[in-house]
Amino acid sequence: MFTAVNSKVVSVNLAHSGPVVARRGAMLFYTGQVHFQPHQVPGMGGGAGGFGGGGGFGGMAGRMLSGEHEATMIAQGSGVVHYGFRGIEALVVDLGSVGGQMRVEASRLLAYTAGVQASVVSVASGAGGQPGGGGGGLFGALRNAASGAMTGQGMFTTQLMGAGSAVLLGHGGIFELPVNPNRPVFVDPQAFVASAGQVSSTLKSAMSWRNVGRGGGESMQLECTGQGVVYVQASEQKL
């Protein structure tokens, strides 16, 4: 389990938690015996088992297609590691307490315990989680890619399942909103951090031909329905 040291830093004792997967470059300091290795999340398509970021395989297009997968490292050993990322506020979430299932943007995930099953799934796939693929065939995929490009969210997101602990990143801090069947929540796509439970999010446009040019700038919203929790950050900045 991760412990919050302050609003921007978490620590984890590897002897108790087992191995931990974290975003590369997020390690601030460690004591004791710890060993780091690159890690790869299953479901990452394209390339010959590439490392994602770092400019190696594929250019921008490759990155967009294979998802905004952030390069990750796995830490093993018996020491204590402190993680933090760019001074962005971090929130520890116990997966068990939110229904054992969470979907989070790779760029907003700081770390998670390796006992959690992580996979890269298409945003189009249902919240019940079949990894890879997604509805709608070719046109569905293109539509999702287009909306992904517009909101900057990309076609893919990271799905975490099982028992364990994860740490979310949110510029300016994160707050939670409960979602239930008769009370959907609308979120600015760039402020959306993660959803947990049985929540599906669809991109909605609040514009109609009548208010072209008169919209308040809030034209695209993510409508979150179902039963669970949505995590929102205090900023529209895309991480």
Partner: protein, 180 residues
């Protein structure tokens, strides 16, 4: 707006930021711009902006002089205006005009780098403030410009402003712990 629940509509507040055509023309002429959006309906709306700190101020019939870019939300019954703020240095990026909010209601202000710090001004203790840290002021205050700025040279961090703001009178000035 980062999230909302219920039935809410977001509409551009139009030319003049909801204060009418004359206000809009003033804004165009003076370079002050207040681009506002109006939220109506029923529900709960959550606002945040770029991880900045937010402070809520209650206005009771007084006028609040505020840097327009730090103004986040206004209760619908408050009115805004553009007023002449005095002659500032030609080299500064700040105009000669500033935005004033008046009436009864709540205002939400943005603050960079940490919560707003409210400093009292009274005849016994006038206040000197870095213009980039200045957010808003209210009360019976007179503002003057101090050009003897030895703490800022032309080279180095934040070399933009070559003056500081001096406040005298009675009132409260609010500053943020970071430069704009």
């Amino acid at each position: 707006m980062v999230a909302y629940e219920g039935q809410v509509t977001f509409k551009s507040a139009g030319f003049g930021g909801g204060a009418g055509v004359v206000a809009g023309l003033k804004q165009k002429a003076t370079g002050e711009s207040l681009s506002l959006m109006e939220c109506t309906g029923q529900g709960v709306v959550y606002f945040a902006h770029d991880a900045a700190e937010v402070s809520i101020l209650d206005l009771n019939g007084e006028a609040l002089q505020v840097e327009s870019e730090q103004l986040m939300l206004l209760a619908g019954n408050l009115s805004t205006n553009v007023t002449f703020a005095g002659v500032r240095g030609a080299s500064s990026g700040q105009g000669l005009f500033t935005t004033t909010v008046s009436g009864h209601g709540q205002v939400a202000l943005l603050s960079r780098g940490g919560p707003l710090i409210h400093l009292e001004v009274s005849p016994q203790y006038p206040l000197v403030v870095d213009p980039d840290a200045f957010v808003c002021a209210r009360g019976q205050l007179t503002q003057s410009f101090d050009t003897d700025v030895s703490w800022r040279t032309m080279v180095g961090q934040g070399s933009g402003e070559a003056f500081s703001l001096r406040w005298a009178g009675t009132g409260v000035v609010s500053i943020q712990p970071a430069e704009r």
